[in-house]
């Protein structure tokens, strides 16, 4: 697998040289491969948001480098816009960035900035709208007439329309109802599967991350704690709870069962997996429902 993003000794200090100096990210080294689905977890203030904003050059690192396809993104600071088209970033509560007259025009904003025109633009906008779940008949409406969830989908479509190689989403499901979360998450998974692009998802919901991510970055107090396969990370429940994070509920239950002497594997992350493991076990134990 080829590496698309590489971070070398990456660090960032807010307000350098003032009394309000604060180290937000410290010495992060990692490699992300093409087509991977990466999850980032960490407490509020652990440096996740600062880290992802350095990936597309919105924040210039105070130490270290970010390599996109082997090239330092700050080698030519004037070309930083091109990096932003290649690493698409969806912020928290992205619905507050909508401004155009129609949803269609708003989704097209980034793609037009990138230089797409004519049929190519139309195709990019419509397919992005489809991926993000924006309804066809909403495209000609004003974005301010949509509901909260619909606005968010439109804003996400606006980033997908730039056809980035890497899509970064900072807590895309925050503040949505359970149904909305479920739909949005499955749309992101579908986008990842269909396009085969790299997706980086920052989230507080361990269940979501456990379900979708191949590998997980764990941040704590500005430092990278682990970067490993999802199953391996969630097998370290003790380490996670020490830094104030939790494993998914079902993983907890399975670990408890194991401690009580049942023959169950580590790293069961979803209810479906748990059913597959437990059903034969219960039959063997002769349990009755």
């Amino acid at each position: 697998m080829s590496c698309i993003l590489e971070l070398k000794n990456l660090g960032f200090t807010y307000g350098k040289g003032t009394p309000f100096e604060k180290r937000a990210v410290n010495n992060v080294n990692l490699k992300i491969n093409k087509g991977e689905f990466i999850g980032i977890i960490g407490h509020t203030g652990s440096g996740k948001s600062t880290l992802v904003q350095m990936l597309n050059g919105l924040i210039r690192p105070t130490d270290g480098q970010v390599f996109l396809d082997g090239k330092d993104i700050w080698e030519e600071p004037k070309q930083i816009r091109n990096v932003r088209f290649r690493v698409g970033m969806v912020f928290q509560y992205p619905e507050y960035q909508l401004f155009e007259e129609t949803v269609y025009k708003d989704i097209a904003f980034g793609a037009i900035n990138k230089g797409l025109t004519g049929d190519e633009l139309d195709r990019a906008v419509r397919s992005a709208a489809k991926f993000a779940g924006v309804k066809e008949n909403h495209l000609e409406k004003s974005p301010f007439d949509l509901s909260g969830g619909e606005k968010r989908r439109a804003a996400i479509a606006g980033v997908i329309a730039m056809e980035p190689d890497v899509l970064v989403l900072d807590e895309p499901t925050a503040g949505l109802d359970p149904m909305g979360r479920e739909i949005l998450l499955s749309q992101i998974v579908n986008y990842h599967k269909t396009r085969g692009n790299t997706v980086i998802l920052v989230s507080h919901t361990m269940e979501d991350i456990a379900r979708v991510a191949d590998r997980i970055i764990v941040m704590n107090k500005s430092e990278l704690v682990t970067f490993d396969d999802t199953k391996k990370v969630f097998a370290k429940g003790d380490m996670l709870s020490k830094i104030g994070l939790q494993v998914p509920q079902i993983t907890n239950i399975m670990q408890d069962l194991k401690q009580r002497g049942f023959d169950v594997p580590d790293g069961v992350l979803t209810v479906d997996e748990a059913v597959a493991v437990l059903a034969p076990l219960m039959k063997r134990e002769g349990a009755t429902w």
Binding site: Q53, N56, L58, R81, R84, F85, G88, M89, F91, P94, Y96, Q97, L98, F99, F109, G110, N113, K114, F144, G158, V159, M162
Partner: protein, 270 residues
């Protein structure tokens, strides 16, 4: 970043200046503005500058914050003093084409820059040491006499404090929106004037929308707490004039007297 502006910020502290009655501070500030523009020779200017310096030291706020507050206006200072420099009257000391330098011009340039700098330092001193609530409270009290002519004093003061309260919030919001639009490739740092103005649209529209949303929210929140305007409202912290305020007034009066004496005794240079 937009947030780096220190002009108008409040730094909590316990210095004697912090503890002065905000009404006293505002009245002194108004008096100060008058004096600074009534200095006509260097002696008078020196008196007011010294007064400013002593005041700043007494606030016990790090000098660099004052320096930072000056950064915002440095361009205006340079521009106006250059303008004054070459528009002086009298005999030219140096001439090159239509550009001539006169003693009067040099004096005027010096005076105007010192005046602007002192003005900004004094206003920074006021806002650094007075919390926005104190400030609006004081303004409300000072404007009370205007009620006679049915001027809505309380409402104006409430609007001011609400506006002040939202300055940091809106700045933060601007930062966020700018970052989001930059992430979509908005180009804000290059191009001609027209394209730069156009580049502001994606920032201003979301900012207006959110400002209106916040205004509705705060109105609802105030109604929920039964706010019905100023009639019959009491205060949690009432402000009182004390001995130290009397002393402050006395010092100000002395400075005014000093400036007047200097102006009378010596010839005006501007």
């Amino acid at each position: 970043m937009v947030r780096d502006v220190s002009f108008g910020q409040y730094f909590p502290g316990r210095s004697i200046i912090h503890r002065l009655d905000p009404r006293a501070k505002i009245l002194m500030f108004i008096a100060y503005i008058v004096i600074i523009f009534c200095t006509f020779n260097y002696a008078a200017l020196a008196v007011t500058t010294l007064f400013t310096a002593v005041f700043l030291v007494m606030t016990k706020i790090a000098p660099k914050f004052y320096v930072k507050s000056l950064k915002v206006i440095i361009f205006i200072v340079i521009f106006t003093s250059l303008l004054n420099l070459f528009y002086g009257t009298g005999n030219p000391i140096w001439q090159w084409g239509i550009i001539k330098l006169t003693m009067n011009g040099i004096n005027r340039a010096l005076f105007v820059s010192v005046r602007i700098i002192c003005l900004i330092l004094a206003s920074s001193c006021l806002t650094f040491t007075t919390s926005p609530t104190e400030l609006t409270d004081a303004i409300e009290r000072l404007m009370k006499p205007l009620k006679v002519i049915r001027f809505p004093v309380h409402e104006v003061a409430m609007m001011m404090s609400l506006a002040l309260r939202f300055v940091p919030t809106l700045l933060e919001e601007t930062d966020k929106i700018m970052a989001a639009q930059k992430a979509r490739g908005a180009n804000m740092d290059s191009g001609n004037l027209l394209s730069r103005v156009k580049a502001l649209v994606p920032i201003l529209i979301p900012l207006f929308v959110s400002a209106f949303r916040r205004a509705y929210d705060i109105a609802t929140a105030m109604e929920c707490r039964c706010y019905r305007g100023g009639a019959g409202r009491t205060r949690m912290k009432s402000i009182h004039m004390g001995a130290r305020d009397v002393i402050a007034f006395a010092v100000t009066a002395l400075v005014i007297a000093g400036v007047i004496v200097c102006n009378i005794m010596m010839a005006a240079v501007v």
